[in-house]
């Protein structure tokens, strides 16, 4: 690959890259800093740049204003259910598209790809009406059921299964008397764990952060997920930035930690899916 020989150029490049990284990280840092300050120190010029001692006071005001842990549980439950159902239905359908030759397969798959182009906003009003009609308002299933066999997930799984599962292995399994679903469960699933990991993370993060859908179908505070809870806090006590930032930090922290642990896998999985298309 191309090389820049001179070391001043290298220094400039590293400073540039480092500055970009600092700019990216700063809002997170600032969030933790504000989460540890109360009103009197936040509204002081210049603003605090180092941690304060008001974190526990902020925490008590946070849980006093909101059913915070209940909302956190809603987020976790919704995201876990979304992940589990998406992984199951998408890998099953991906298996169907990748390893079987059946009439109409290419047309069905083409249709599935085409649905990915339709913007989500188009059906947002009927979506609300259906959820209301089903009596699912304020239920987590209103959020995870509609997307549990997502076109994107099936596409990702099909690509992976087609390249990772040998057809001969399936025939061997059939000779051993496995049913077609048995093949999926005992042969395919163990082989596609990396792709499952990627899709699982994407789904979990997407659902954990889902705001618009939640805004439309969750109406009661007890049913709120974290983004909605934080949003309601913004309306209620708009000046209590300490408690608000603590809540924000608590909602971001699990994902940040997961990302620090698995960032490489997450990034590789995401881009592999994107580029094969």
């Amino acid at each position: 690959m191309q090389r820049l020989a001179s070391w001043p150029a290298k220094v400039v490049i590293y400073i540039l890259l480092g500055a970009m990284a600092a700019l990216t990280a700063f809002p997170f840092y600032w969030m933790f800093v504000l989460a540890s300050h109360d009103r009197s120190t936040i509204f002081r010029a210049p603003p605090p740049m180092w941690f304060g001692d008001a974190a526990s006071a902020n925490y008590h005001r946070l849980v006093g204003t909101l059913p915070f842990w209940r909302n956190a549980w809603n987020s976790l439950y919704t995201a876990l259910m979304a992940t589990a159902t998406t992984l199951f239905f998408c890998s099953l359908a991906g298996f169907g598209f990748a390893m079987y030759d059946f009439k109409g397969r290419d047309a069905l798959f083409g249709f599935l790809l085409a649905t990915m182009m339709v913007p989500g906003l188009l059906g947002i009003i009927p979506y609300y009406l259906i959820i209301k009609w089903l009596g699912w308002l304020n239920f987590p299933r209103a959020l995870y059921v509609p997307g549990m066999a997502s076109a994107f997930g099936i596409f990702l799984m099909r690509q992976y299964i087609a390249s990772a599962v040998p057809a001969d292995l399936l025939d061997a399994g059939r000779i051993d008397g496995l049913s077609e679903f048995g093949l999926y469960r005992t042969v395919v699933v163990p082989l596609i764990k990396p792709a499952m990991g990627t899709l699982g993370i994407i789904t979990f993060v997407g659902q954990w952060n889902n705001f618009m859908g939640a805004l439309i179908v969750l109406k009661e505070r007890e049913a709120y997920t974290l983004p909605l809870a934080l949003r309601s806090l913004q309306g209620l006590i708009s000046t209590d930035w300490g408690a608000l930032m603590l809540g924000t930090a608590l909602s971001v922290l699990p994902l940040l930690m997961a990302f620090v642990v698995g960032s490489r896998r997450i990034i590789e999985g995401l881009t592999a899916g994107a580029l094969k298309g």
Binding site: M1, I13, L16, L17, M20, A21, T24, A25, P27, F28, W30, M31, A45, F89, A93, G96, F97, A98, M99, Y100, F102, L112, T115, M117, V118, P119, G120, L122, G123, I124, I125, P126, Y127, Y128, L129, G147, S163, A167, D171, R174, I175, G177, E180, N209, F211, M212, I216, L230, R231, G235, T248, S251, L255, L256, F259, S263, I267, L270, A274, L275
Partner: protein, 360 residues
């Protein structure tokens, strides 16, 4: 992908479903009836597995189509139907009133709709383009042999993508605070201590800036947040794309005496075109539906003189706050058409050339 073998392939093999294993000598005591039963069971087993194999893929892929019919196709059809009606959603479906194209006609004369469309397109440009203008050279630098900590840097740029837009918008709301925000603190430091005061006079920026309270600053504030959130995602995408460009091309260019800029201009950019097209398409589809960021930053209103009112936000308010479901449905179709138009323009500008190159 390898297709499933022909049907004859496994019919000869023994199945564990049958009672008597095929190929074993028949037991001495076997009567005609028993043999019959065994045969039938084996046939049945074979038929069952053949039937299973034919039906299985349909069953496996059906959840998507069932769910899409309920939560995708039906809503789209219904929103089209709804867009020709007047309906306030409170009185039940019976109170829908056919109004023909009135909702669409209203949209065309609605100043707020045009304003929101204008805002959305401006935001698409000022928050969409910089993402790519930053990401492509950044990916090029990261991909060049001289950057050691490539994974560390790209991960750190990618981090905003995994955090929720609501959380991130809340953080930015504090950063944009007028008196106590970090951005104004940084700007006033630059103005007073870094000798850049003349630049502020030149631009006409009056400190402190009321980022979220004054109309001219709302769009830049939203755009900075969107760029911050997405440039890393694009960088990673382009980085993956760059890794598919063969090294030999660069080596050959270097032998011919091409410098870094020439390599970027004549190898990287042209070969990256299919991915630029892909990434821009995603940006268009995503940014045209921008909702969370303006919603949080403007406290759900769209901001002073609707400067931050995007189409998605206006759609939400029309449908779910003011309960004009028919108008909101018409708006979603208008937005869909605009997105299709922009995607098509993007295809004409970048995609076609990129696809041709890939094919040839």
């Amino acid at each position: 992908m390898k297709a499933v073998q022909g049907p004859g392939h496994k019919l000869d093999g023994p199945t564990s479903h049958g009672a008597g294993p095929a190929g074993h000598p028949a037991p001495a005591l076997s009567t005609r009836a028993a043999a019959d039963t065994a045969l039938r069971t084996r046939r049945w087993g074979v038929n069952r597995s053949r039937w299973q194999r034919r039906a299985a893929p349909y069953i496996f892929v059906s959840p998507f189509f069932i769910l899409f019919a309920i939560f995708g196709l039906y809503p789209i059809a219904f929103s089209l139907y709804l867009s020709f009606h007047n309906w306030n959603a409170v009185g039940g479906l019976g109170t829908m009133e056919w109004v023909g194209i009135e909702n669409y006609a209203f949209l065309l004369t609605d100043p707020w709709f045009w304003k929101s469309l204008w805002n959305t397109v401006v935001l698409l440009v000022v928050s969409g383009l910089p993402q790519h203008v930053i990401a492509i050279p950044l990916a090029f630098i990261l991909n060049s042999g001289l950057v050691r900590l490539r994974n560390l840097f790209s991960s750190s740029y990618f981090m905003p993508y995994i955090t929720s837009t609501v959380a991130v918008s809340m953080i930015f709301a504090t950063i944009y605070g007028t008196q106590y925000g970090a951005l104004n603190a940084a700007l006033s430091w630059l103005q007073q201590h870094a000798g850049l005061g003349w630049l502020f006079d030149l631009v006409g920026l009056e400190m402190p800036v009321n980022w979220l309270g004054r109309a001219p600053y709302i769009k830049p504030a939203i755009a900075m947040l969107v760029v911050w959130r997405w440039f890393g995602w694009n960088t990673v995408l382009y980085l993956a794309g760059l890794q598919t460009i063969p090294r030999e091309l660069y080596e050959a260019a270097m032998v011919d005496g091409a410098g870094v800029y020439q390599q970027f201009r004549w190898i990287t950019l042209p070969l990256l075109k299919p991915i630029v097209f892909f990434a821009m398409t995603l940006t268009i589809i995503g940014n045209m539906q921008l909702f969370d960021e303006p919603y949080i930053l403007t406290n759900g209103t769209g901001g002073t003189s609707e400067a931050g009112l995007t189409v998605a936000l206006y759609l939400y308010r029309t449908g779910f706050e003011w309960l004009y479901m028919g108008s909101a449905a018409a708006m979603s179709w208008a937005l869909f058409l605009v997105i299709v138009g922009l995607s098509f323009a993007n295809f004409r500008l970048i995609g076609r050339a990129g696809l041709e190159r890939r094919g040839g």
